[in-house]
Amino acid sequence: MTHSHLPEQGPSGGATRRPPPPPPGRTFDWREALAPSLISIVSIVVVFGAMAWVITSAEQWPRIKLQFFNIDAMVAAFPRVLQGFWINMSIWLIVLACILFLGIALAVIRSLRAPWFAPFRLMVILYIDLFRGLPVLLLVLLFGFGIPALNLPGLPSSSLFWGAVAMVLSYSAYVCEIYRSGIDAVHEGQWAAAKSLGLTEWQTMIYTILPQALRNVLPAMMNIVVALQKDVALLSIIGVRDAVREAQIYTASTFNYSSLIVAAGLFLLATIPMARLADYVTQRDRARRLQIGG
């Protein structure tokens, strides 16, 4: 190769024709980077400042402040509410695991096409119609109070257990439908390819369809995980001593509501990181899809 600096000879010039250099990389511009953050900070301060001003200027504010934002009461209530919050988190994890598993099992049954699956498919559809059609709160009450009262031999009689079962049954119906949409979104050609290789319908589902479906539904599932994290508090109405229940007990004995604010803070502490994680997962998934699509 020669590195001569002959003048350009046009398209037919051959070896001496050189492309222009790549454009300079974008330099970091303080104004460009600062302006958006400044605008957001200012607008946050203005909006929330105005709200704070409206609230604190209310005639009853000093009384509310004493009852809801009493630092001493918060400190006093904190250990009990935190203890309850750990119960929330453990129920959340256990219930979540059950939901993810039951949901996938139901979705697989509903998606298999072999004729002898028909009765099972029908049962799943009935199940979904039933449990999606009833409010979770109502299910928790019915299960939490009703089933222990039946005194069934050999079955646990704790309200916590049956309330959690109600949560699992209700959420699984939704989760099943999410999984199923993910399964349906896998291209028909994947079934054809697997079948042509001799895989049974079950093997096709396990080895080819389900792994792709799980990837499809991950963002939607993260949403459910966040929703469940706070809905576990519904169990407080059947007497489970979770964060909300503990806060209420404190409120009932002292006539001070600051414990509720403590519980609210703890929930936010747990759900906001999960929501950020969900966003991150969704965004990464989107990037992956665009890359494939492009």
Binding site: H187, G189, Q190, A192, A193, A194, K195, S196, L197, G198, L199, T200, Q203, Y207, T208, P211, Q212, R215, Q291, I292
Partner: protein
């Protein structure tokens, strides 16, 4: 002795007649190309042969045994008949190597080691040895289709069905896939090929069948068929192809 035989195969999609009493016989080592407009039933015919689509009426035999025969079991038929699709249909969540070894391991009970050794040898043969650990989306269309060929050949099938295998490829990649088909023909593979590449069909086919409305309207020697089609419809179809600059 015919390897594949179809007797009056009929298929409806709903009320729509897609295949109308099709008879076809393919000898061992023979390469048959199915041509015809979209919707003429070519792909459905192909898929009936390996039972991806179940024919409503008629019989399909492989070596004189009906493909519905119990002797094939659930797996035997797919071991004997391979298929390659237009859109490759590789499993996107699996590496090239796992795409190739899935069926041998899970369906045919081979050990991981044995299946992988065979897969790597086949990949090398098709010039894809260095892509074993890649995922399908990291490959070009031509490379993906080559992997799909290797996957279909892993079970050493007796018959290979090709369903418009070049239709999704960029023009400059078509050649490498057509090269594979020619090589397979040279090795004596029995193939039934649905294609829109008329020039290729003329070169590689022992026999060409023109389908329209779910029937084989005309079949015969490719050179005779493309230069002097007997049927008026065949002539009209080929004229349209020539007009479009595809022959």
């Amino acid at each position: 002795m015919p390897r594949v035989q179809l007797f009056e195969v009929t298929k409806y999609f709903g009320d729509n007649l897609v295949l109308d009493q099709v008879d076809l016989s393919v000898a061992q080592h023979e390469v048959v190309c199915l041509i015809g407009a979209s919707g003429s039933g070519k792909s459905t015919l192909l898929r009936c042969i390996n039972r991806l689509v179940k024919a409503d009426y008629g019989d399909i035999c492989l070596d004189d045994v009906p493909v519905t025969d119990e002797r094939f079991g659930k797996v035997g038929l797919h071991k004997r008949i391979g298929i390659v699709f237009q859109s490759y249909n590789l499993f996107p969540h699996l590496t090239v190597l796992d795409n190739l070894t899935l069926a041998p391991r899970k369906v045919h009970g081979k050990s991981k080691k044995e299946a992988e050794a065979q897969a790597l040898a086949q990949l090398d043969r098709f010039g894809m040895g260095s892509f074993a650990k890649a995922y399908p989306e990291q490959l070009s269309g031509g490379q993906q289709q080559r992997v799909a060929f290797v996957r279909a050949l892993m079970n050493k099938p007796d018959v290979l069905l090709l369903d418009e295998v070049t239709a999704a490829l960029d023009p400059e990649l078509v050649g490498e896939v057509l090269g594979i088909i020619k090589e397979l023909k040279a090795q004596g593979m029995t193939m039934i090929i649905v294609t829109h590449e008329m020039g290729f069909a003329r070169d590689v086919a022992d026999r060409v069948c023109f389908l329209e409305g779910g029937r084989i309207l005309e079949e015969g020697d490719p050179h005779q068929m493309f230069s002097a089609p007997q049927h008026e419809r065949t002539r009209a179809f080929l004229d349209r192809i020539i007009e479009a600059g595809r022959l």
